[in-house]
Symmetry: C2
């Protein structure tokens, strides 16, 4: 998945906005820089076709929402960009972790351990919620 600069800016905007139509996105993203409403419409449409946005008519216009939040998209992009380099049987995300961890210092490793603990808590909470 390749994302252009404008596409990224639109996503950023939609992570703040809950939802928005082309007009809103346009006026928000073209304060200094130029660009017509059509450009924004095309970009929203391309993101929709990439399955990164949902949309639904509300009144007159489509209202778009981000399908993935920021972290989910990051995880997706990491999958995309790493999958070609992961050997069969190897888990793509674990392998990516392995690659990245090689550049981390002690403090960051500790941060990671905390994140792992938080994730465990999240998992056990999900489990009890399921009852």
């Amino acid at each position: 998945m390749i994302l252009g600069e404008l596409e990224k800016r639109v996503l950023h905007y939609l992570w703040e906005a809950p939802e928005a139509d082309a007009k809103q996105v346009h006026s928000a993203l073209t304060k200094r820089k130029g660009g017509t409403l059509n450009t924004i419409q095309s970009t929203l449409d391309r993101l929709f076709k990439k399955n990164l946005l949902t949309r639904q008519k509300q009144g007159h216009a489509y209202y778009y929402r981000a399908k993935l939040d920021r972290k989910e998209l990051i995880a997706q992009l990491i999958q995309d960009v790493t999958s070609d380099f992961i050997n069969k049987g190897e888990d793509s995300l674990i392998a990516a972790f392995t690659s990245v961890s090689a550049g981390l210092d002690d403090e960051k490793l500790s941060q990671l351990e905390i994140l792992i603990q938080q994730q465990r808590h999240r998992l056990s909470k999900e489990d009890s919620d399921a009852h």
Copy 2:
């Protein structure tokens, strides 16, 4: 950093090969599929200009080597693809970890903890080696 299919195949080859000239890469990568030696030369040159390969004349031809190993490249690509989505002050790699860990189950979290321990050992070994 965007890598095309052929570029990826060349990198894969050079991770196995230690080093190789265009001729070797060409005969290795064009068993079934077509492609001239020139195509491989261009691809090697593009990778060289992207700073992903080193090269040096040995006898008649350039011999190319991968500048980054597989995991280093993966880490680099993750940096590239995530940096646009990381908020200022946030560490790009930690943030990427955070994103990815959200999709991991208990077993994978344990694998991660093991990786973190291994990385710690590597760090302390480096430290003692520095003496």
